[in-house]
Symmetry: C2
Subunit: 191 residues, 2 copies
Amino acid sequence: MAVETSQQEKILDAAYHCIAKQGYAHVTLRQIAKEAGVAVSQISYHYQNKEGLLLAVVTRAANKYQEYLQDYLKPDMTPKEKGDTLIRLYQQLLEEDVELFRVLYDLVGLSLWSEPFRLEVKEVFEGITEQITTEVFTDELMGELGYVYSSKTLASVFFGGLFGIAIQALLEQENEDIIKSLSALVVIFNK
Amino acid sequence: MAVETSQQEKILDAAYHCIAKQGYAHVTLRQIAKEAGVAVSQISYHYQNKEGLLLAVVTRAANKYQEYLQDYLKPDMTPKEKGDTLIRLYQQLLEEDVELFRVLYDLVGLSLWSEPFRLEVKEVFEGITEQITTEVFTDELMGELGYVYSSKTLASVFFGGLFGIAIQALLEQENEDIIKSLSALVVIFNK
DNA sequence: CTTTCAATCGGACGACCGTTCGAATCTGTG
DNA sequence: CACAGATTCGAACGGTCGTCCGATTGAAAG
């Protein structure tokens, strides 16, 4: 009982997985079309051109990230619990869905050289830090910790730590130690 | 009084700057050759092929990074001073030599898809965290802080924070706030 | 001066890229 | 059924890529 999936969706799926396998730089439209089981010209038809398709992949990756967040972060959690949960989410993703990280890193890299992508990715990142700012580093927690830094600053540091450590994990074959070291990020809200 | 520069060196310089401008994915050997003022075939002659040239660029970027470290980190500094200095170094690089960051990020991205590059970049990263481990999170400082985490773990977190925040700064046009937020990383060794 | 070998060059080759286009097919409406 | 518009396809196009090769130059050794 195959779910009816539009050809447009199949192409997007295929593009996502091809990028996860080879990176945007080495992916060709022919590979994507082959993986999706459609003609190459269908990509142009549905997404204008290669850039249009890749931009759609950015949105898809961002959505997937958001879905994970909604699954993990529950409204009734305390700020510290949310911080802990974010750390655990990254640890789990690094073990079970490393594809997502590779795609994210790759698309951030693409955004360094292409303005349309930069704007899109920048917005995604700002959304993430915004969420961390308001949900983790709340006024209440900030008062408790007594930092001289703003909640926005701490959110950037926290997210930067998550991302930076994740990159180190991506580079290692045996990355269990590095994945565990993500836990040490709690030092930020356990002053 | 032009310094005598070998053609091999000129090619490497050109490759570095071309990557800083466009990323490895969009750089062609013809552009590099033109920028270096040599024939395209010279690249194959001196570096076998494109991969060989890019691997040499990795080494070059790593060396440049090491030079910065040697300029900034003095042996008579205390561990905390070295940590502070690292933060200041990153802040200064983000303002004055953003090229280096772009090249580093790009080559790390390349290493996600190519095993030879992964091994090379992995070694560079391990060297960095190793240095932070032994020079910043010394036994003395670790005793003073009383963390439950190992010095290696804290070094990974610290470096991850530096790198992750730097990436956020790369994505922003107006990145002064994010560059400043690097300073907040001192919370790790100001328990 | 001749020989030798490394360095350098320009051109050419085959492969592959993203895109385009006309024809064929499907789908739903009158 | 007939027709129109949206989909889908395969083939082809122009362009660019990395690589390779023969010829030329330069410098050092005999």
